[in-house]
Amino acid sequence: MEDTNPPPSDTSNDLNTKVDGEQTPSVVPQDGTPHDKNIDQFISLLRTDDKSDSSSPPEIVESVQIFVDLFDVKVVEYESGSKRWIQLDENESACFLEFVDRNAKLIKSMSRFHYEENYAVVIDRISSVQERALCILEAEFKSILDDYQTSYDRDQDKDEAKKKELKSSASNVHVQEAVEPELPDQSEAEHEKDEFLGYSDEMMLVLKKLANGLITGGHVTECSELYFFVRRNATEQNLKNFRFEKFSIDEAQKMQWEPIEKEVSSWMKMFKYFCSSLLPSERRLAEAVFSGHTAMSDNLFGNLTQIVLSYFLSFAEAVMMTKRSAEKLFKFLDVYEAVRDNVPLVEQLLSDEWLPQLKSATSLICTMLGESIYNIFIELELSVKSDVAKTPVPGGAVHPLTRYTMNYLKYACEYSDTLEQVFKEHKRIDRVESVTDLQSSQEHQPQNHQGGNGSPFQSQIAKIMDLLDVNLEAKSKLYKDPSLSLIFMMNNGRYILQKTKGTGEMRTLMGDPWVRKRSSDLRNYHTNYKRETWTKLLQCLSHEGLSVNGKVMKPVLKERFKSFNSMFDEIHKSQTTWVVSDEQLQSELRVSISAIVIPAYRSFMGRFSQVFTPGRQTEKYIKYQPEDIENCIEELFDGNTAQLSKKR
């Protein structure tokens, strides 16, 4: 393949040896060779003459006329459309390009004597034929380039199923993310096969020859413009096939978030596909067609990339300009990561001159998205801090604020590496921009726990968690029953701990000491709750003060049973409506309650039940068998909403 693209050689000798070496005499017109030689000699004569600055030009050799007539005949043949380049054999096309090349040199060397009339007339003739020849090359070049669709679409049909899959999974971000790692490999493999975007090897061969011919003939601009517009149309066609939505920044401002959110997912897919697969293929194509003309292929690829990326980056800009709000965080992060990760793939394919514009566009997007992301966290912090509720959550259940904040942080921590990056960058900007802000934020540093002196994002999370604690503490005061306050604290504390432990990134961020502290807090709530609710009840079951001199005081005993029963009833009645939705916590509570209540009750019963006369009296005072107590305890914290809703 390489020998079809010789570097433009300046000495006619080279050309001749090449022609001799390559062409079989049967294809080249027999009379062509001697004339070619004469012309090449003539060209070098004109050139050497160049130096001596003599005013009288050498006589034009006869071969020129014969050469141009021959060339003309050939051109007519192609002009009639009877010959197409894709069907030509190697020698025929080489022969035609040889004509173009030799002719170009001839024109160039003869032009020096353009003021000589006989020269001018010949130049007119040969340059006219040359122009027609180059027109043929242009037309052929374009028509082969344009032929990408047939083969490419075939390819696309194959891809169709795959693409549909991508589109449909776009609705679910997380499923999609799970699929994602496989995608680049797949498409990489796809395009290893489809190295030249649907152009067959024969087509590539011809394209290279034609490009070379056009460049030799001086039609560099025509050639590159033709190439550029065909490839740009092909690329845009491709975007259309993917149903790429172009919408303006202004439109995005007025749109609902959901349609944009959906678009982000498919944008990510497309962007990745273009950057990791399609544009590298375009690069290979340009390099192959214009091999030996690096500046040209660099420029063409750069121009194409700039346009393609401008579509993708416009979308990112439209997203970044939408009003920030908490629910947009994850899509902002997606777009941020996509720009951060995909653009460098393309950058390494571009020549230096294209980089500044691209870098300025991407850095603007990353800075603006970074700022929004950062501010969303600051707003979350403020919101958690200032969330005031007048009414407590029924049953001491997990507060929606806890649920929201923890789930939000949990998802956010899936992006923890990116968030670290964003926070580091932003803190830096912040410090430059406003000294006062920094000072005030230092004043509000959370109590120094393990995360406090960690990374900026880590301390931000820690800060939000602290504020959540403070807020929950305040919310727990809304309950009149201290036991319920404790259940509320337990529920929320447990929820926070479980969510944190359940997310690897968050667990790592918060650290062991934090987890230990939370666990011990929870144990304290538990202990305090038992004391608060059950100690008084257990006092009823105290053996003390019931017997005087070994004799059981029946009225006191009656009182004890009565107050036990009513107290227990009351506890049962209220605490079955309380909510502990964490099963483990629920059963832990029940077990630990049973563990203190049942043995005490059993022992109390065992000691005192025979005091009552069997029958009515026993029935009246001994309302519960130990098993009944156990069953009742099993009913606690069920969040008996039926009862609750009846009450309301």
């Binding site: 032009s111 353009h114 001018a120 007339v121 130049i123 007119d124 340059s127 006219s128 034929v129 040359q130 122009e131 027609r132 180059l134 027109c135 242009e138 037309a139 374009k142 028509s143 344009d146 032929d147 601009t221 025509e222 413009e225 033709l226 517009f229 065909v230 149309n233 066609q237 939505e245 172009k246 919408f247 303006s248 920044i249 202004d250 439109e251 401002q253 121009n303 700039q306 346009i307 401008s310 579509y311 416009s314 800009e317 300009m321 629910e327 514009q357 566009a361 603007l364 603006m368 501010n375 600051i378 707003e379 403020l382 919101s383 958690v384 969330d387 929606p400 649920r403 929201y404 904040t405």
Partner: protein, 383 residues
């Protein structure tokens, strides 16, 4: 760039502003701001040059002129930011009529961003036009001019002229290859004509400009706060600059652009803008009837020269001699000069438009930051 150099001293001024003397400083700043804008815009408006036939390099609507215009915009923008936005707190912006005017200004900024993006695509098309014109220059610069050269030049020029005249009229989205692969038509270079657009086909630059200027009304005398005037100024300059760019540079859908903003004559800075607007408006009216290549001086000259060159090509007989030769040489030289200016100016212009984009984005963000100080306190947790 001068505005950035000033920011240190602006910071000082901002801290002073917090004090009692602040008000006086503000008045002074705003006056300075208006004066600077007047000076910068006046420089762009040279009515005396109107009559001269030769095109000075910085003639109105030339690439060089647009570069100066955008420079002026960037300076104006920087000063606006320093005077109006930096160091403010939300209370400054929450009172009537600023609580309405600021969001309106921000909305205009957003629309301006889309226009910048559209203009960047337009500049790309101009580059392709330049390349086509350069082909004609290269081939007609040959000696002797032969039939072959003329043919090559004509082909490039035909493509160029058809691209210029269809721009933004038909073919919003490139025609598909249905035509191209089947016809072996050698008269044009194929699909070079088409302009690819960054937005959906319904997007219209003219409509955006109309929307930007529709609610831009001159402040009435004795408005309660001194910030109303600089805000009106900034919006006016923004709309004017965007309008001028859309009028000059190939852009998606410009029908009806002629209807432009009404600027209040009461401000001195508005005078040069009104003058410029009238001049550009006149040209627009003339041009609107026949094709819409945009008013960019270089494009207009390119189109005119292109037509003459095609005419020459059509009547071409070898050899070209005497007067005819001189005529062609002059045309080619002029076209070459136009190409040279474009080659030199368009890259820089493109970078400037991108800079304008960046600045608008950042200023908007800073304005929103000020406004958000209010909102932050009131954002509830969305559970």
């Amino acid at each position: 760039m001068p505005p950035t150099d000033n920011q240190g001293s602006f910071l000082n001024r901002i801290s002073i502003r917090r004090n009692q003397v602040a008000y006086e400083h503000e008045i002074e700043d705003v006056e300075q701001f208006q004066k600077h804008v007047t000076d910068r815009l006046s420089e762009l408006f040279h009515p005396q040059e109107d009559t001269t036939t030769s095109d000075p390099p910085e003639a109105i609507l030339s690439i060089a002129w647009f570069r100066k215009l955008l420079d002026a915009f960037l300076c104006c923008e920087a000063e606006f930011k320093a005077v109006v936005i930096m160091g403010r707190d939300a209370n400054n912006f929450s009172k009537s009529p600023l609580d309405r005017l600021i969001p309106e200004h921000l909305d205009r900024s957003v629309k301006a961003l889309d226009i910048c993006n559209a203009i960047i695509h337009g500049i790309d098309l101009l580059q392709h036009w330049r390349k086509l014109a350069q082909i004609a220059v290269d081939s007609l610069n040959q000696k002797p001019i032969t039939e072959g050269h003329v043919r090559r030049a004509k082909k490039a020029l035909t493509t160029l002229l058809s691209s210029i005249s269809i721009d933004d009229k038909e073919i919003h989205h490139h025609t598909n290859k249905s035509t191209s692969s089947s016809n072996n038509n050698n008269t044009t270079l194929g699909n070079i004509k088409s302009l690819s657009y960054p937005f959906a086909r319904t997007w219209s630059a003219a409509k955006q400009i109309q929307a930007m200027s529709a609610n831009l009304t001159s402040p009435r005398g004795g408005e309660p706060t001194g910030l109303v005037v600089p805000l009106y100024l900034m919006s006016s300059v923004l709309v004017f600059v965007m309008w001028a760019m859309v009028a000059a540079i190939p852009c998606q859908e410009r029908a009806g652009l002629g209807a432009h903003l009404q600027l209040s004559k009461q401000f001195t800075w508005a005078q040069p803008m009104i003058g410029l607007q009238e001049k550009i408006g006149e040209q627009w009216k003339k041009k609107e009837k026949k094709g819409r290549s945009g008013l960019l001086l270089e494009t207009q000259r390119m189109e005119k020269l292109g037509l003459s060159m095609v005419e020459f090509a059509e009547g071409f007989v070898f050899p070209v001699e005497g007067e005819k030769a001189e005529e062609v040489a002059a045309m080619v030289a002029e076209m070459e000069e136009v190409c040279g200016r474009m080659e030199e100016g368009l890259v820089a212009l493109d970078m400037q438009v991108r800079e304008v984009f960046n600045r608008i984005v950042r200023s908007r963000a800073e304005t929103l930051d000020v406004l958000d100080q209010l909102n932050k306190m009131t954002t509830p947790v969305p559970y």
